[in-house]
Symmetry: C2
Subunit: 283 residues, 2 copies
């Protein structure tokens, strides 16, 4: 269990940051937050989601924090830490929620003060909406927390994040290198989003609404997408994602060739393989 | 309401045929069935799903039917009607459940006796399992029934199928030409299945199971697929489906180009368009 005296600070109080704050408060922790949107801070204070808050990088709030969790956009986090680490408490532990790892972790660990520690983590949770007003710690219940340590991290920091994941009631907590994380996320998450977006965009399909079944709805749900966040995430994992798209396009083109050639056995083999593989993913 | 004296005959008593039989019996109709699998007929008789049944094309059963519904595989239906129409009752109405229309309807209407009528229809319902033991008329509750008349069909036949759809409690009943049906199904259903299958096959992904979230599961659910049925369906709609795959691959390659070129605005435009289009499909 995490020591109740540890003070948490959330930077960027959106859906994930807000959900973390609520979950931590529920477990008896002291939580403060900084967000440039003053309305988010006021809302969170009013609803009791946080104990203290500020709309600027308040040195006083920052210096009290034992654990700092960045809920900032991927491109913003490195700059924020660089500018504000002067206020960090000695031995502060910093983590994040970012969906890509390599392009962030190594930069931060390079620039961070020697007496503080940054360890990457990625809560694979979310909703189709954003903002602290939609915060809800139950989004973690079915989700994975992925911890992505490097050789610079201590076992104590890994253990702490593990305990953190248990207190937040994540369904599963696992440890991956930043590289393996980005490869996995490129296939399981980023490629699937590219596919859903491209399927919606491939056809001016609004007239097809009344014929639509659940398969199509399930497959395209994630085509509703935050264009600012995902553009950053994709560019920060560009090489991996380009390779994943290429492998997928090769595979679908191979299927098209078999269909054009009326290669019945070849098509059946594809279906048998996908059925077998997909069964393995059943819950 | 459909006249209770009309006798229904289901040819091919699988999941859909069985669900039709159960729904019709529930509404007080007399339903018989023919299926080459004797176990399916015995099961259905035992469970009261049908009133009469046979494992061969029994001329007596066929000649009593006012309405014949084929639940046969796409490649089998034309031959079955050709061989057995000699037993059809005068003025019998025949329909089907096939997921492709053009390649079947025109052949049947060409060869069918002048005193009978075939009108195509497609219940867009199903499960991941097959067989009469999984039959369940509630699969029609959220589903579309698409009626696909040609110039050879009478208004009376269209009206009858409309009433039939209402009695079976379909969520929505609509009328499309066979050509429009096949184009719609090529995009909304067949292309989505090709995508799910290709995504599963693009990566030897079994080691990724523990990191998998709901988006990936939703997108790949239909990668579990009956290889015999879908190979037939795809080949019977080959030209449409090849065009849909090509359009989709062009779109995803265009996205890849924008990603490689780090074209931030171009990527955002894609996301904004897909979000707008997908919102229209929300229930």
């Amino acid at each position: 269990m995490i020591d109740k005296k540890k003070r948490f600070l959330i930077i960027g109080l959106g859906l994930l940051g807000g959900s973390y704050a609520m979950g931590l408060k529920k477990r008896g922790h002291i939580v403060s937050a900084i967000d440039i949107n003053e309305a988010s801070i006021n809302y969170a204070l009013e609803k009791g989601i946080i104990d203290e808050g500020a709309a600027t990088a308040d040195p006083n709030l920052i210096s009290q924090a034992d654990v700092i969790i960045s809920g900032l956009y991927p491109k913003t986090i490195v700059g924020w830490i660089s500018e504000n680490q002067q206020y960090f408490k000695k031995n502060a532990l910093i983590t994040d929620v970012t969906g890509v790892k390599c392009s962030i972790i190594y930069k931060i660990q390079e620039l961070l003060r020697e007496d503080c520690e940054f360890i990457g983590s990625h809560p694979m949770a979310g909703k189709e909406v954003s903002g602290v007003q939609f915060a809800d710690p139950s989004i973690f219940l079915p989700a994975n927390l992925i911890i992505t340590p490097t050789s610079k991290n201590t076992q104590a920091a890994i253990d702490f994040l593990y305990e953190f994941g248990i207190e937040l009631r994540f369904n599963n907590i696992c440890i991956l290198t930043p590289e393996k994380h980005d490869e996995m996320i490129g296939y399981l998450s980023q490629l699937t989003h590219v596919i859903a977006v491209s399927l919606m965009n491939a056809n001016d399909n609004s007239h097809l609404k009344e014929y639509t079944g659940d398969s199509f709805r399930d497959l395209t749900r994630i085509a509703k997408i935050n264009e600012n966040l995902w553009t950053e995430l994709f560019l920060m994992n560009k090489d991996v994602l380009v390779n994943e798209i290429t492998a997928f396009v090769d595979e679908i083109n191979d299927f098209k060739q078999k269909l054009m050639a009326e290669d019945v056995d070849g098509m059946k083999q594809k279906f048998i393989q996908s059925t077998k593989r997909r069964k393995y993913f059943d819950k």
